[in-house]
Symmetry: C2
Subunit: 948 residues, 2 copies
């Protein structure tokens, strides 16, 4: 009845026969080699070459560069897992599984190199077609059926498979090989309903993917038939109904394309292969690649594979299984399946699937029976294969399977996507299971994803209005204003709003909008639906399959039971529990588990770069310390100035007519500043605290609105006209390059004197109370050594004065400077004469060195990224090619003058993993980043130390 | 009667005896050595060491580092001309003249090293005093008089003398050694009136300089006596009058200081020497040094010298002579003298002096008799000595002389200050006279002064209202608004006004105000008065001795005859003719003489750097071409946009709602731009023209005032509200780092396309008419190679389109970029892949690299210069230490990628001689500067090539 049944012994025999041969030479080797590395590719063939017997294997190795079609299945394969660049991930893994003797439907992979060729010439070359036909013959032989055979036709699937998985982005055609003649053979061998349902599915997919017939035409046609027949479900339609639908579909195709639906299976195959290659270039695939930094040049492979059917009856099923829980990394299978269904039905999220076992029930509301219960033998076989694949690949796997009439087939295996917590858990568990080393574990966790892990969770201490519960597809709390389409999500987010994207179901077109959202909520779909997979990859909170939800995008509202929520209303999601909560719920810091602690401990073991934090308050400092910060790298004093209780004193100081008035205003600020610093020093007991003296231009502290000006004039007891003229006097054309930073310290020495006094007094006071205080005074915007020389002398004098008032104190603040002006980096050798430390202000270095005003780039930077002039936003990841040179030069020249010079970085880049790798390479001592990014930075620092 | 008369034979004999010995070994050596260099100092002693006979000479050389007092006169000297760092210019030259056997009153120099010592300890050390007394004994012996001898006292002068002449900045005391007893001896030997006049002068100077008694007290006292005696002139007072004045002066001193006037000549000497040393640190000396880049560390020497008297009768005189005409460089003596006067009377400009010969009459209104007529023998001797000194020093000399009872003494010789035209003339004449080489001549002319030479002169083609004529003290036309004090001059100039400073006479306090003025006019003073000397040094137009002038600073007005001119009224001066002209007279370009042409020819012979000009119009281009520009290095297209006839079209373009509207507005601008370029290409026939595409942010072209906005809204037919919101949309926080330069070209490709089309069409059109056109298209603000790559491709496409419309045209514009963003310099290697040339925009490189917004630095840069944090304004002379590195890096990396890359600079620094030396050193191909600075740049480029 099916290929497999007939050929089962052959498969098993060949699997057994092959297993020892393929496994023996690889037993140790894979342990050492990461599966993606190129090295094994070369070694494996060489080992085979040594025996010198197996001509075909040798030929494979030799001719690979020109080989374009790679067969697999039946216990043998032309390819290998290591060949994913050439075969795509799916093709490489199918080959690898064949080598391992794992039951995969036989087939062949058309290499990624053909993708470019095919796109360039618009069709497949004669040579490729010939290779394909040869490979097809092998499949026919393996499965014992022939393509186009009217009695017992070979049917194939045609699927994409790129180097990196791009779920749902490219096209697929199933059941290819059916036509008006072969469908009758299939009907005779299986049953008529299944045969015509399969045929209509084929026409539908082929029509959509290859012939570009609008999808709705087919769907409307089915709906019409169902209405006509007064049935609700597809499954209620009979064989004759499907037969009728097939006819109507063929008419639709002919009307739309002007040609009848192709009946020649070979023609069908060329069309489908070409369309899948073309789908590499469709818009949603391009958008996905852009978001995931995937090169357009890689191309996709195409896998043509004998069909196996999960929809031939109740002893059939199709499903997806993860070898570990992808949400939390727990060590159990995690999967879903649908009985009597084709694989696409699971992934598409149209029907709600059943859990494969009890452990997979997590989040499944109902009490649907599991695969373990319904098909225990297939389940046990699957379980064994999962463990084997995981051990073989030394990675958690995401496996697609089909059970055709009780026989298990694996259609695909790949590295399983998982949430950041699962990344951590799996990596740490793998170390415990001695599958990988600590170093490998550290390199496997995506540092930038780690950040997600630390973001607030729902605060459950108070009451929450839970409207409904869906499937917890991706954890974390998402709080935002509801929007109903991706474009609105993107626009609102750009405008600074936090949004929750609510959809019936998501599709690949929604990716950018999902990225812009705080969380995603869908009505349909399971844990492996598009929304779930994509959201987990992004580390976004996501709840799927919330069936209580009604979405009305036209009216711009959603309903859950009685509750109506309109666009712009607040909504909260808990991606960990699947709860949908009314309004804007409070959030708290997550409890971090043991695996996280282990990973961080290992990170600290291997990293060389220290990690500090940017914190302006004792609260922030404590959070950061909890996350492992080893000091404060940047404490901005101006934030303290903006507090409502102080701003008037600050303004008095700024608008002072002379030094005397200014000093009087500063005297009022001194105790406040001192107490700020005391709090921070206490929070950072034993750790260094770098405090930056006043940096922004003074006009930033003054009001801009007319009513505020009037109020200020009244408070200061001056006329509005006088205030206005003072404000005008402070106006600057380019404040970034104006009267700010140390220039204020030169113009108004009393400001810096007051700040240094507050710092030193606070330090001496807390030191006297037993706190181990390590203050570091940082002078901003130095561009010429003369500035630092002068201000350092002034600081030292003030410090001396304060120390005299605390006899015997050991407090002796270090004095250093920001390197944030290009000239400072270039003359770091002379500036270092007056500095105990440098802290690179890479934000301003980028602004000045790149001529990019951060406040103004919105007018052109998006366009630059869009047009591909720039690859990255240089404010997100440091521009290593250009601005990076200034950091390198500054570090090298500073150290040349003063080998003990402490070097750090306190720009936003200090929390970006790519940038951290760079900072480690140029030899900085520490990075400083926001509190929540400290663990990420610790991990990235370890990765930097472990990377070659 | 005088020392000289008695000792004359001795002097002469010793002069003769010494001359051969000192001259012989130096005959050739000085030719090679510039007098200010240090090298000769070492060489000279070594040569002396070789013979090894002359113990004293050897001792001088050996012990010099510790020697502090250096004797001279009577044909021998401890010092040398080459020792000016140690002895000051005056002392070194007095020593040199002694060696040459030239008659100088004997004396000694206290070295500049003592200046620092004396300032540090507040008084002279015992060791120095002892050395001084020893040297004084030598003077006594040479002159045959003793210090303090009641019968025939030695009187001395005490004068400052720094490494570089600082005329009038420091203090002088004359006639020192007189007291109540010695005055009687002097009276007995000369005459009583002379003796008591000398004594009162001594008390007056000593009182002022040493005892700090207010000067006016003495002056008022003399006025009172004159009134009492009903006489008008000092010369009408009798011996008894002066005797009375001496008594009153002594009373004034005693009342003011609480002590009697010092009678002990040694005490007088310590006081005077100390005071002269202290005067190095007075405010006006400091201001002068700052203005002239003189280090505060150098210190002054003090010269103590036997007095000779020009005021002992009608066979006495005192004067100043230049060996060439300091105004135009003509080869004749140029000098003035006063009969029966002390030297200070000439310099102070109180009496109008007589010309020394007919050639010196230039500018002297009256027909006063000359020295050649009145004292022919002394004149002839002076003439001979002048030629000898000029040949000896191979430089034009400025000599002070005194004739005492018919005998000539030279008191000082130094390099003569001269106007820029005179610098050129003298240098070129010296080459013709084979005194110096062409190279030396080029190095001698101050390149930055050359600029003065080219500035407009009075246009005499129309009528001028000449109010009066004074002495033509420093040439050029000065046109400005009248002010009556230096402070107002400074303030008005800072506010952007052009001012003419009008004073009865200037004093050193006025220097900063003089610097800020377009010209200086004084009532009193001669060609060597303070105003004249200082103005010539500055290259400022100056008219002195305009006796018709009445100045009333209280009423803020001046009168010449009937005409009343109030502060703020326009006035014009011709410093070449001495004319004072009513109102704002028109000016024209000067005719440049043959000497200038020769010098420029030599400059072109030696220089390697090419010189282009920054010109936006055909008119500017033609001026520059006349001055020798070898192309246009920067033609700014935005200036064309500001023309009233075009600005509306430009605004339409900027405020366009879409590409179509924008293109329509641009179409309107295209023919205007094309005709601009045609004019420029014609003017620059055969020379390259670099045109920069639109650079400034678009909002710069839009109105800022409310009424202008309303008008524009009306013209565009939109509401004011819509216009306002568009203006707001264009607002930028830091326009310097914002949406400008090539970023506009990326955002609105049609703007650059239109410009490139206009350039190429213009080039093709004029080329078809036979003009040799070499257009270079320059893309501004490139920070990333991607920008240039994209825009270059776009330019090439447009050029191709235009060329297709001109079949067979050879026009093929080069395409290059500004290097003005630090990142561009750092990544010049990759940017060079897309550039035919680089032009360094050092203005913006400085703004960004130094974090200095040129529009905002006014708030702190003056303070930085004042406090000495920065030595130079980095916008005037390139910051070689920092920003210069970016130019060096950019040049080296650009050439590494593309060895034939053309490199230029088009910032303001391209016209600054110091910067030009730097640009030559880093290997640029050309500099580009404003038209008037082209000759300056040619000379500076030659100096760069000739400097080691």
């Amino acid at each position: 009845m099916t290929a497999r049944k007939k050929k089962a012994p052959a498969r098993k025999k060949s699997a057994r026969a092959k297993a020892p041969r393929t496994k023996a030479p690889r037993k140790k080797a894979p342990r050492k080699k990461a599966p993606r590395k190129k090295a094994p590719r070369k070694k494996a063939p060489r080992k085979k070459k040594a025996p010198g017997k197996k001509a075909p294997a040798k030929k494979v190795a030799r001719t690979r560069p020109s080989r374009r079609v790679f067969s697999f299945g039946n216990g043998r394969a032309d390819g290998r897992a290591s060949m994913r660049d050439l075969l795509g991930g799916k093709g490489a893994n199918l080959a690898e599984m064949s080598h391992l003797g794992i039951p995969v439907p036989p087939g062949f992979t058309i290499s990624t190199e053909v993708c470019g060729e095919c796109q360039a010439r618009g069709s497949l070359s004669r040579a490729v077609k010939s290779d394909i036909l040869t490979a097809l013959t092998r499949v026919e032989r393996a499965i014992g059926k022939r393509f186009g055979n009217p009695d017992d036709p070979l049917l194939v699937s045609v699927r994409s498979g790129a180097r990196v998985s791009m779920p749902g982005m490219m096209d697929t055609v199933l059941n290819l090989g059916l036509n008006d003649v072969t469908v009758r053979g299939l009907a005779a061998r299986a049953d008529a309903r299944f045969a015509y349902d399969s045929y209509r599915r084929f026409i539908q997919m082929y029509g959509d993917v290859v012939l570009e017939v609008p999808r709705e035409l087919f769907e409307r046609c089915i709906e019409a038939v169902k209405e006509d027949r007064r049935v609700y479900l597809d499954t209620d339609l009979e064989a004759e109904d499907w037969q009728g639908i097939v006819r109507r579909f063929q008419e639709i195709v002919e009307v739309q394309t002007g040609k009848p639906f192709p009946q020649n299976p070979a023609e069908q195959l060329w069309g489908a292969v070409g369309a899948v290659f073309r789908s590499w270039g469709n818009d949603r695939a391009k958008a996905y690649r852009k978001l995931h930094d995937i090169s357009d040049d890689w191309g996709t492979g195409v896998n043509v594979q004998a069909m196996v059917f999960g929809n031939m009856g109740d002893d059939c099923a199709t499903g997806v299984v993860f070898t570990r829980n992808p949400t939390n990394g727990a060590d159990h299978l995690y999967g879903e399946y649908l009985k009597n269904a084709q694989g696409e039905d699971v992934v598409a999220g149209v029907r709600t699937p059943q859990p494969i076992d009890d452990a997979s029930r997590q989040g499944h509301a109902g009490k649907l029976p599991t695969l373990a219960e319904e098909m225990p033998a297939a389940y046990e076989e699957l379980r064994g294969l999962c463990k084997r694949l995981e051990k073989h690949y030394r990675e958690m796997q995401d496996i697609e399977f089909t059970i055709e009439s009780g026989t298990l087939w694996l259609l695909q295996t790949r590295t399983g996507k998982r949430t950041p917590p699962a990344q951590v858990q799996v990596a740490v568990d793998f170390v415990r299971e001695r599958l990988i080393s600590q170093q490998e574990a550290l390199l496997r966790v995506d540092a930038s994803a780690l950040d997600q892990l630390l973001h607030p969770m729902l605060d459950r201490s108070g009451p929450l209005t839970v409207l409904s519960t869906g499937l917890p597809a991706s954890p974390g709390a998402g709080v935002g204003k509801v929007v109903f389409d991706a474009e609105t999500a993107e626009n609102r987010a750009k405008a600074g709003d936090k949004v929750i994207l609510v959809r019936s179901e998501t599709s690949p077109e929604d990716i950018v909008g999902m990225h812009a959202s705080q969380g995603i909520l869908t009505r349909t779909g399971g844990m492996t639906s598009h929304a779930a997979v994509v959201a987990r990859g992004m580390g976004k909170c996501c709840v799927v399959g919330c069936e209580d939800l009604q979405v009305d995008p036209e009216q711009r509202l959603m309903r859950i039971g009685e509750t109506v929520i309109r666009e712009g209303d607040w909504l909260t999601l808990d991606g960990g529990s699947g709860e949908v909560i009314l309004g804007k719920a409070p959030t708290v810091l997550p409890e971090l588990g043991g695996a996280f602690d282990s990973l961080m401990k290992w990170a600290d073991r291997y990293r060389k770069l220290k990690v500090r934090t940017n914190a302006d308050t004792p609260q922030d400092a404590l959070v950061a310390r909890k996350f492992g910060a080893e000091g404060i790298g940047l404490c901005r004093t101006e934030h303290m100035f903006f507090e409502p209780a102080r701003i008037l004193a600050v303004r008095r100081m700024i608008l002072a007519n002379d030094e005397v008035e200014r000093e009087k205003a500063l005297e009022g600020l001194l105790p406040m500043q001192r107490s700020d610093f005391e709090g921070i020093f206490r929070a950072m007991d034993g750790l260094p605290v770098t405090i930056r003296l006043l940096d922004p231009p003074l006009h930033e502290f003054l009001p801009h609105e007319e009513d505020e000006k009037a109020e200020l004039a009244k408070e200061l007891g001056i006329s509005l006209a006088v205030l206005r003229s003072k404000l005008e006097g402070l106006h600057e054309f380019n404040p970034m390059l104006g009267h700010r930073g140390c220039r204020l310290g030169v113009s108004y020495p009393e400001i810096y004197v007051t700040q240094v006094r507050a710092i030193t007094e606070a330090a001496c006071a807390v030191a006297a109370a037993g706190v181990r205080v390590k203050p570091e005074i940082m002078i901003p915007l130095v561009s010429h050594e003369g500035e630092l020389e002068r201000l350092r002398a002034q600081c030292e004098k003030t410090i001396g004065d304060v120390r005299a008032a605390f006899p015997g104190t050991r407090v002796r603040p270090a004095i250093g400077t920001m390197i944030e002006v290009p000239r400072a980096a270039l003359t770091a050798d002379v500036i270092a004469k007056h500095a105990d430390f440098f802290s690179f202000g890479t934000n301003d270095l980028t602004q000045m060195g790149y001529a990019l005003s951060r406040d103004d780039v919105g007018k052109f930077l998006p366009d630059y990224l869009e047009k591909g002039i720039l690859e990255d936003d240089p404010f997100v990841s440091i521009d290593q090619e250009g601005i990076g040179q200034l950091v390198e030069i500054g570090a090298a020249r500073g150290r040349a003058t003063r080998p003990d010079l402490k070097l750090g970085v306190c720009g936003e880049h200090g929390g970006d993993p790519k940038s951290i790798l760079f900072f480690a390479r140029v030899g900085l001592d520490y990075v400083s980043c926001s509190p929540y990014r400290v663990p990420l930075a610790r991990l990235a620092a370890a990765q930097a130390a472990l990377s070659p």
